[in-house]
């Protein structure tokens, strides 16, 4: 069994296989967020997922946003929270709030 928190290694492995990969990172939390700052979710354009940035509430929305970052290479800073209904329809059942940074992992000789 390998380290199940080492999402970066998983993402780097996917990249080496030729996948297009985005890495989402929890950068700030308020209230009762289930995952601490620094937690990663890695996604590929082909639909693979590893890790988590919440208890499962917002992974779908983050993966959706990651598609844009994978397409144009522009990083995004996403806000999630029960009080923020403008940009995102998903909220956190726990009442927490968090910010998630999404970046594309660039492969060698890109």
């Amino acid at each position: 069994m390998s380290d199940q928190e080492d999402i970066l290694a998983t993402a780097a492995g996917w990249l080496a296989e030729g996948e297009t990969v985005a890495l989402a990172t929890v950068v700030e939390t308020w209230g009762s967020s289930p995952r601490p700052a620094g937690s990663h979710l890695a996604v590929t354009a082909s639909g693979r997922l590893a890790g988590s940035v919440s208890g499962g509430c917002i992974e779908g929305a983050v993966a959706e946003a990651a598609r844009r970052t994978m397409a144009d290479g522009t990083p995004q800073l996403l806000d999630f929270g029960i009080s923020d209904e403008r940009a995102w329809e998903v909220g956190l059942a726990c009442g927490g709030k968090l910010k998630v940074f999404v970046e594309k992992l660039e492969g060698q000789a890109a």
Partner: protein, 230 residues
């Protein structure tokens, strides 16, 4: 993250160097601490993140920054390549520990029994322990039940800053062990560092249950949970 930056980060991690990634969240610009020479406020935040092993965010020159520490893996040194060790090792690997199993008895510390994800050492425990030099990010568990193997390992462990030292054995076994170590010159307060009987009291019976109780106690000690106190 640029390809060459990811490669540098992965090299540092593979070499067990403590580094931190500083990311400017407005445009994704990234720097590797300490080698990239961050501005003083960011460098200080990176040092603090490494010391506390916790990510941090802070504003710098009008932009939000995120600091991700990458400390070397915690280490677990297991003395005794016994049945409980076979259950303990995969759990520890899954929890992110770099694991070393020490046992001079060749029939025990084999790749067939422990796989390839672990370092197997067939030196005598005192020599192995001196060489492995446990630090404050190291946990040590003795499992052999044999004083000839456990005691020398514990003597080295108790002179180190290891954050957890556990020894398998009943209360009676441990009382005898303490008496032997006292005779060898170890002070009372050193002995008080030994978690014995090892592991949280969850009524563990089988090898995997004992391994679970040990890993639970190591995590509790590491995270400063109240139940880690004995």
């Amino acid at each position: 993250m640029k390809a060459d930056f990811l490669a540098r980060l992965q090299r540092a991690r593979a070499a067990d160097r403590a580094v931190a990634v500083a990311t400017r969240l407005t445009d994704g610009a990234q720097f590797l601490h300490p080698e990239d020479g961050l501005p003083a406020p960011l460098a200080a935040a990176a040092d603090a993140a490494l010391a506390s092993d916790a990510a941090a965010s802070l504003p710098h020159e009008g932009a939000p920054w995120f600091i991700q520490p990458h400390n070397p893996r915690l280490r677990l040194i297991v003395v005794g390549a016994v049945h409980v060790a076979q259950a303990l090792v995969p759990m520890a690997l899954g929890l992110g520990f770099a694991v070393t199993v020490v046992d001079p008895r060749r029939a025990f510390a084999t790749e067939e029994r422990f796989g390839t994800g672990v370092t197997l050492v067939d030196e005598w425990p005192d020599e192995a322990m001196e060489r492995l030099a446990p630090d404050a990010r190291t946990a040590i568990v003795t499992l052999t039940h044999d004083p000839k193997l456990d005691d020398p390992a514990l003597e080295v462990a108790l002179r180190s800053p290891a954050f957890y030292i556990g020894a398998l054995g009943s209360r009676r076994t441990h009382a005898k062990r303490v008496a032997r170590l006292a005779e060898a010159g170890l002070p009372e307060e050193a002995m008080a560092r030994i978690a014995a009987p090892v592991g949280l009291a969850i009524g563990a019976v089988t090898a995997p249950e004992i391994a679970l109780s040990i890993m639970a106690e190591i995590v509790a000690r590491r995270r400063g949970a109240a139940l880690a106190g004995r």
